[in-house]
């Protein structure tokens, strides 16, 4: 890491009541014993230009980013799973993350809403800012963070409740509504935005688990957007779906892009090419290349990216 980042880290040492700096090593905070950098106040994100030794090729930073990640490292015990990843996530655009299994793309995705907190022995260093707020700040409520950064998983996972309750759950626990009519409105809007309303409007009381795989996944998307997130993370959202359901979800992603930033991990390069505006290629824990999707799939700049997307290794 370079000096600029170290300087910032120095500034961030919290002090105890006597004004003595706390031990600058990692501390256990949050769920699952996640070790994090000390964090007293929220420093400004470090711009890419301030950094040196950047290995990633392409355009990692964007203007007016929703997420600004700098030098993110993740360790699972002794395993160094993610190395110095620096990337921005732009507003109202889809960022696709591709790479062979074990390359760190899902690990990075899980950093963005602190899902790695739940993994014992996981340690995250570096800085991740959501709208200039350090998501690892001690003041940061993880539940609130996950409302702002929703997630959709590989396998549709509706709650074993009614379709209505699946969508209403989030707004209710976050106290977003004052009346039943408000809640009805949110459920209806969310299902409409997820493109599911017409298919389920007559059976809102039926269990969500009774829907088809594709419908369940769209229900999960409706559940994620019901709490009005800023970012939606998707971890291989179509890998368990047939081509028709996949096309529906991809179409939905395109529509949702107008309102949210979306980060999608996918093993289908065709899907990444179809749905995203920017693509990031990960390899063995490093971010190798990031750039406009059109460029990455027609004229990648890094040999590793070219070899991966053309099926020369994987």
């Amino acid at each position: 890491m370079n000096d600029a980042v170290n300087d910032v880290t120095q500034d961030r040492k919290p002090k105890d009541a006597a004004g003595i700096p706390e031990e600058p090593h990692r501390r256990h905070i949050g769920e699952g014993g996640l070790n994090l950098k000390p964090s007293g106040r929220t420093p400004a994100p470090v711009s890419l230009e301030q950094r040196s030794g950047e290995k990633t090729v392409g355009q990692a930073s964007v203007e007016n980013a929703v997420f600004t990640c700098r030098d993110v490292n993740v360790f699972y015990g002794a395993k160094h799973a993610l190395r110095n990843v620096s990337i921005d996530v732009g507003r109202r655009q889809v960022l696709a993350m591709i790479g062979p299994s074990g390359c760190g793309k899902s690990t990075f995705l899980r950093c963005l809403n602190r899902m790695n907190d739940t993994i014992p022995g996981a340690r995250v260093t570096g800085s991740i800012h959501l709208d200039k707020t350090d998501i690892h700040d001690r003041q940061q409520d993880v539940v609130q963070l996950r409302a702002r950064v929703g997630m959709v998983f590989q396998k549709p996972n509706p709650f074993p409740k009614s379709i209505y309750e699946n969508v209403a759950y989030g707004p209710r626990i976050h106290g977003m509504t004052r009346s039943r009519a408000d809640l009805d409105e949110i459920v209806c809007t969310s299902l409409q935005r997820a493109g599911l309303w017409d298919e389920v409007k007559d059976r809102l009381k039926r269990p969500g688990t009774g829907l088809s795989g594709g419908q369940q996944q769209r229900l999960c998307i409706a559940r994620a957007i019901a709490v009005q997130p800023e970012v939606i993370l998707m971890d291989e959202p179509c890998s368990a779906l047939d081509p028709v359901a996949t096309a529906r979800v991809e179409d939905l992603i395109e529509q949702l892009r107008a309102s949210y930033a979306i980060v999608i991990v996918t093993h289908s390069m065709q899907q990444a090419a179809r749905v995203s505006q920017r693509t990031a290629y990960f390899h063995m824990g490093s971010l190798i290349e990031v750039g406009e999707t059109d460029k990455v799939f027609t004229n990648p700049r890094h040999r590793l990216t070219e070899d991966y997307i053309t099926g020369r290794f994987g």
Binding site: Q270, T298, N299, T305, E306, G311, R312
Partner: protein, 234 residues
């Protein structure tokens, strides 16, 4: 050849290499077509012209079957990045060869129509420009065969020489027509033949451009060809 190989799927390697080889085969056929058509005109040989027309069907068959193979490759493999550029470039290369073959056909038809045998001076011009066109097409095919971008850039530059020779040949032709306007129809046909040969040179140049795009160059711009021209001059 690296750029067409090394896939995890050996069948994909095979499909790309197979396509490449078949295009080189088609190129060899077109080269023979142009050579024989120019010879048929300068030596005024009907049997040669007939052979050219018969072989033209083979060229068209190559064109049709290569189209089919390329569609299958796109549908089955959905190539991206370098593979996509190579597939599109190969598709365009087939188009260039097919059109070069068409020019040979036009020359052969001219002989078969027996409109009027060109005089010795015109024959000499056609032979000269024909040789230039054939050597340019041969060089572009070699560049395509070996995927040799520097040779391809040479071809692009040399096509300008052919264009100059064509203009000079056309001026000589018109001068002769003005001196003796009785055979104006023969002159006109000869001008079409010269134009066809000049077009063969253009197709060779376009084929060379495709080689450059397969080699990772974006379309060779004037800058690139200017550099190549400068290095040739020095």
């Amino acid at each position: 050849m690296d750029m067409l190989e090394g896939h995890i799927s050996k069948a994909f390697d095979g499909a790309l290499a197979g396509l490449h080889i078949r295009i080189v085969e088609m190129g060899g056929l077109v080269l023979e077509q142009v050579r024989e058509a120019a010879q048929a005109y300068t030596e005024w040989r009907v049997d040669s012209a007939e052979r050219v027309l018969q072989r033209e069907m083979k060229v068209n068959a190559y064109d049709a079957s290569l189209d089919e193979e390329q569609l299958t490759l796109l549908a089955r493999r959905q190539p991206v990045a370098g593979d996509l550029r190579a597939t599109i470039a190969m598709s365009k290369a087939v188009g260039e060869l097919e059109r070069a073959g068409d020019e040979a056909k036009k020359i052969a038809r001219n002989v078969l129509a027996q409109g009027g045998r060109p005089g010795p001076a015109t024959s000499r011009d056609v032979r000269h420009i024909g040789q230039l066109a054939v050597s340019l097409l041969r060089a572009s095919l070699e560049a395509f065969d070996r995927l040799d971008t520097s040779l391809a850039l040479e071809v692009i530059t040399q096509d300008e020489d052919l264009d100059l020779e064509y203009k000079a040949g056309l001026r000589r032709l018109l001068t002769r027509a003005m001196e003796d306007p009785r055979h104006f129809d023969v002159t006109l046909e000869a001008a079409f033949v010269l134009k066809s040969l000049e077009r063969v040179g253009d197709h060779a140049r376009n084929l060379a451009r495709q080689v450059c795009s397969m080699g990772g160059h974006s379309r060779p711009t004037d800058d690139l060809t200017a550099t190549s021209r400068a290095s040739r001059l020095t």
